[in-house]
């Protein structure tokens, strides 16, 4: 609304300015602008590039945004849903669903349903972009409790999960035939392989110069540390940051030791982890399902196992959940709710989604069926057992940078674990307080 007024005013003002600014002169003008524009219009009209419907096509009854990989599957079920209800469903590809959805919804032009990760939730609620999904208690029971917990914010369910993901240990079975029980075992075995010239890195973990809080978290968690303390109901409490807690520091000291021994290095980033592992030059990589397909193509024989213990304590990763959300400003709320609660909970949809992303399906029934056939999926799921969901509260946005950098600095021996994690805690707290 405002835009029109401003835009018109600005245009009028400009034209007035322009008119007064110029005097006369002689000569004739040929208005070639029009010709060019018309030509341009003709060319584009002829090209199939303009087949795209406007964002809000009146003829479409339900609009879903997802990434490109998942579109073919969602297309299939959207078509089935459309046929069942006698409506037209459009599945559109957004390259950055999280950002685009926020902007578009704010302008009242968003889709009805989006497909995305659970850690966007807090931010989306904060921006009044998503609404609760009324999944019945019976349906909720069809998912593992951790997956459902990830879909909740303030105790309210905001989405229906379709897959879970977490990191584990991927090992090169040619170099390391047995699943490691302890991190120390990995270090010993790996160091020996490096000494024998069979490997360049003992253990691969994404660190990079600016750090990677997601991949370093299991070290803190092993000793009871982490990011936020939990409220009695299981929610993360943004007022209780535990990055600098004694437990987290114990984990940080392990990072420091591994950095000192040259096992971990800030020179190793995500790309290097893939490169070295796929070249068969490292026995172990602490990574996730995304790395498997490339290793397969590179001809590496691999196996997946849960994170080991470190100093006798069990490491657990963050659990990530992928799910369907319903927009708070959905124009087609009834269809959106119906699709998300009735279709996403279907076994066949969840299995098809597994075929695309190769992550364990969230629906227990679908998981059981897939796990019986695919050992990798079973292994990933086992590796995620007991994992807590990645915090989905907005305060988490203040954690990634400082915590990541802290772990990088510790590994690079730039500071002691205690000093560095306490400094990170102060920084994170200040940032959260500022937000109110």
């Amino acid at each position: 609304m405002h835009m029109r007024v401003y835009g018109a005013a600005a245009l009028a003002g400009l034209s007035a300015l322009v008119l007064s600014a110029c005097g006369g002169s002689t000569g004739t003008a040929t208005s070639t602008t029009a010709a060019t524009t018309a030509k341009a219009a003709a060319t584009t009209a002829a090209a199939p590039a303009t087949t795209g419907a406007p964002v809000r096509d009146a003829a479409v009854d339900l609009v879903i945004w997802c990434d490109q990989d998942r579109k073919p599957i969602i297309d299939k079920y959207a078509a089935a849903f459309g046929a069942e209800q006698g409506i037209k469903v459009a599945v559109q590809v957004s390259t950055d669903v999280r950002k685009d959805f926020k902007d578009a919804t704010n302008a009242g032009k968003g889709p009805d349903v989006i497909v995305g990760a659970h850690d966007w939730l807090g931010e989306l609620v904060q921006n009044q972009a998503v609404k609760p999904v009324n999944l019945s208690p019976t349906d909720q029971a069809k998912f593992p409790a951790e997956a459902m917990a990830a879909a909740k914010f303030n105790g309210q369910v905001y989405g229906v999960p379709y897959a879970v993901e977490n990191i584990g240990i991927v090992r090169n079975t040619a170099l390391a035939p047995d699943a490691p029980k302890t991190f120390e075992e990995m270090v010993t075995k790996g160091t020996q392989l490096v000494k024998d010239g069979k490997a360049t890195n003992a253990v691969l973990l994404t660190v990079s110069k600016t750090g990677d809080a997601y991949h370093s978290y299991p070290f803190l968690k092993a000793f009871g540390g982490g990011v936020f303390a939990q409220k009695p109901n299981g929610d993360y409490d943004p007022t209780k940051v535990i990055v600098g807690s004694p437990e987290s520091i114990l984990g940080g000291e392990q990072l420091a030791k591994l950095g000192k021994d040259g096992i971990l290095s800030t020179n190793v980033d995500g790309g290097i982890v893939d490169q070295v592992f796929d070249a068969g030059k490292a026995p172990y990589a602490m990574t996730g399902p995304w790395a498997v397909e490339k290793a397969k193509k590179a001809g590496i024989s691999y196996a997946i196992s849960p994170l080991p213990t470190i100093a006798g304590k069990q490491m657990t990763p963050f659990l990530g959940v992928q799910m369907f959300y319903v927009s708070a400003k959905a124009k087609n709320d009834a269809f959106a709710q119906e699709f998300v609660t009735k279709y996403v909970t279907r076994k066949d949809l969840q299995i098809d989604m597994y075929n695309i992303g190769k992550r364990p399906p969230a629906l227990t029934e679908a998981y059981t069926e897939v796990a019986a056939k695919d050992a990798d999926i079973k292994a990933w799921f086992e590796a995620g057992k007991g994992a807590l969901p990645m915090p989905n509260i907005p305060a988490m946005n203040s954690v990634w940078g400082p915590l990541g950098q802290a772990t990088a600095d510790i590994i690079a021996q730039k500071a002691t674990a205690a000093d560095r994690l306490k400094a990170a805690q102060t920084e994170i707290e200040a940032n959260i307080v500022k937000a109110g």
């Binding site: 524009t37 219009a41 579109k71 902007d103 578009a104 490169q275």
Partner: protein, 306 residues
């Protein structure tokens, strides 16, 4: 305020055509500098191209990893190409991009050259402040540009769907906002180096300013038109921020949008396919510049020969 200054002057000196460009090397004698020149060219090309080699290597490596310490990939295959075209409508993107960047850059050059002509050849009130303002506008940190443009085009699309979001036409229009920008400066600078006498003489003959502009001035500046056109084309060819806001249907997307999404999809799972796409995508830019080489050295010489 004033019309073009019409100083009657000698007709365009049919200056002896300078054959510097098409004439064969001055003499057949051995030139000791020639070796140095080719060595320098070799060094320049190595500097420009060696980092790109690693992208090519990643593109043909089945596991598709970047490895900048290995010149020859340890395995070779076209699997990444298959991945790319099987999972993505790559060639549709290619076509869309050529159309959008092609039309967009031609329109932008036209708008820019018109404005530059006015700024260089015509004298009017507010000319210098106008030029200055143009430069300053380019410096504004465009933090909220996308939000603002998004709002403009959603409102516009509500009323006139043909110009709205999710249309190539809307995207091209949005790109034209930058048509005046830096182009005008480069074009104007070049106009300033072209002797005024060349076009003003024609005016004495009674030709209208529009005729002078189209038939005499424009041909004189083809080198810079090609240059500005290339800069525009490359810019639009790789643009993805605005395009990703506009284009939501997979088949209507551009290379910039599609490839960027490929790079960020599922960590770096598709890195190899992405590299293959990026290398293929750079081909038209090189080919187009190559095909405009004649026009690049046209301009003044061509103009004065006529």
């Amino acid at each position: 305020m004033t019309a073009t200054v019409s100083t009657p002057s000698t007709p365009p000196a049919p200056s002896t055509p300078t054959h510097a460009f098409d004439a064969p090397p001055t003499a057949k004698r051995r030139d000791p500098w020639q070796v140095v020149r080719y060595l320098a060219i070799g060094a320049a090309l190595i500097f420009a191209l060696f980092p790109i080699w690693f992208i090519v290597a990643a593109a043909v490596n089945p596991s598709g990893n970047l490895n900048t310490t290995q010149l020859i990939p340890d395995a070779f295959g076209l699997g990444n190409y298959t991945d790319l075209t099987a999972s993505r409508p790559f060639w549709s993107w290619y076509k869309n991009t050529l159309i959008i960047a092609g039309i967009g850059s031609i329109a932008a050059v036209f708008i820019g050259v018109c404005a530059a002509y006015a700024f260089s050849r015509l004298r009017f009130q507010g000319r210098r402040p106008g030029l200055m303002t143009l430069l300053l506008i380019q410096m504004f940190p465009s933090l909220l540009t996308f939000v603002a443009l998004f709002r403009i085009f959603t409102e516009l699309g509500d009323v006139i769907p043909q110009f709205g979001l999710n249309t190539s036409l809307g995207l091209i229009l949005a790109y034209l906002g930058g048509a005046m920008g830096g182009n005008v400066w480069l074009l104007k600078g070049y106009f300033d180096t072209v002797p005024k006498e060349l076009d003003e003489a024609a005016k004495v003959d009674g030709a209208s300013h529009a005729r002078v502009f189209f038939t005499i001035t424009l041909p004189l500046i083809t080198p810079i038109l090609v240059t500005v056109g290339m800069i525009q084309f490359i810019g639009l060819f790789n643009e993805f921020l605005l395009a990703s806001v506009f284009l939501k249907d997979v088949d209507a997307q551009t290379l910039g949008v599609g490839l960027n999404a490929l790079l960020t999809a599922d960590r770096n799972k598709y890195f190899g396919a992405f590299c293959f796409g990026a290398v293929l995508a750079s081909a038209p830019i090189v080919l187009i510049y190559l095909s405009f080489q004649r026009q690049l050295i046209g301009g003044l010489t061509a103009g004065s020969v006529k």
